[in-house]
Subunit: 201 residues, 2 copies
């Protein structure tokens, strides 16, 4: 039952379904990245994963739910990073959040799925709703919870606005000189602003 041949012949259903689930998620991530939310279909994802469309619905439900699951996997580092960002000295949270966000965008492995999420969220209301739920509740919510200020949520969003705008101009629209500016120089200018939004008067 545990040898490779036995497993290939008769894998337990739970492992089998985990494999299929992952294959569908991988295909979904590819499809959403390449085509964007609107042009992607459950049928197309199923075809790319080599499974029946009914199986995609069985594991995930609607297209919106597949998208949300694909984002949760793709944006794992983005969504789980803030735990470390929120911890540590409060007077350095601005720099930690700034370095975390730029780190995610500088890394091609995380930039590509993030770009797909941004593109989908800008173009489609359903994708925007998923973005709001995941990024805002999970990412900003965790930071706001640590601030312990009555307007913590608005503060976290204005700080995020500075970072989202930097990502848009530097990585998406590629405006010069910002797109080619030295990262440390950019961090040195942006981190105090993020800090001021989060903990300033």
């Amino acid at each position: 039952m545990t040898g490779p041949i036995a497993r290939r012949r008769g894998r337990p259903p739970r492992a089998e379904s985990a494999d299929t689930r992952e294959r569908i998620l991988g295909a979904a991530r590819e499809e959403f990245s390449e085509r964007g939310y609107e042009k992607t279909s459950v049928r197309g994802i199923a075809k790319a994963a080599g499974v029946d469309p009914a199986l995609v619905h069985h594991y995930f439900g609607t297209k919106e739910q597949v998208f949300e699951a694909a984002i949760e996997v793709a944006a794992g580092p983005v969504l789980n990073g803030p735990t470390a960002v929120a911890e540590g000295p409060p007077d350095e949270v601005g720099e930690r959040l700034t370095r975390f966000m730029f780190g995610v965008w500088e890394n091609p492995a995380t930039r590509t799925p993030l770009l797909a999420i941004v593109r989908s969220a800008v173009n489609n209301e359903t994708a925007a709703a998923v973005f709001r739920r995941l990024v805002v509740s999970q990412l900003l919510g965790r930071i706001a919870a640590r601030l312990d200020l009555p307007d913590a949520e608005l503060r976290a969003e204005l700080a995020a606005a500075q970072l989202v705008g930097c990502a848009m101009l530097r990585y998406v629209i590629k405006v010069e000189p910002l797109a080619s500016a030295d990262l440390e120089q950019v961090v040195a200018r942006v981190a105090p602003v993020v800090q001021a939004h989060l903990t300033g008067p």
Copy 2:
């Protein structure tokens, strides 16, 4: 020659071509707004304007050039506003730029074409290039020119990043509480940041 019937029978060629040009631009703005840059075609614009596609090429050239012309018309208030923004007391330029940008986004008449430009620029490299040329050179260039600092361009872009991010989260992705926050409260928090980017140490 000046009565309505005479005009309908024999309008001077110059007025005729100005009318046609404007009808094409109006159709282009509609098509780009509804479909985005990639899905819009010169053929589709011509059809919506009730003219031959050759006439669109004759007046504007390529699809990219039609897009640029449509943006220049749609974003007229955005592109020409900064002249007033750049003038006036330098220690209030942050508030003027912030109020100007939010004013443009709060007004549905300018928000709709702006949203189309942002969507196109995020999704398509050609549209992004047009965005860079128009918004960055014209809008930010004029502000940077007034700053008279060696890193004026980077300063203007980081200030713009704060505003672009606010627009993305408040008007495009509609993140709460920022999306429903009182405008004056948002301006009061954002203007000092924009000012600090532009003229701070």
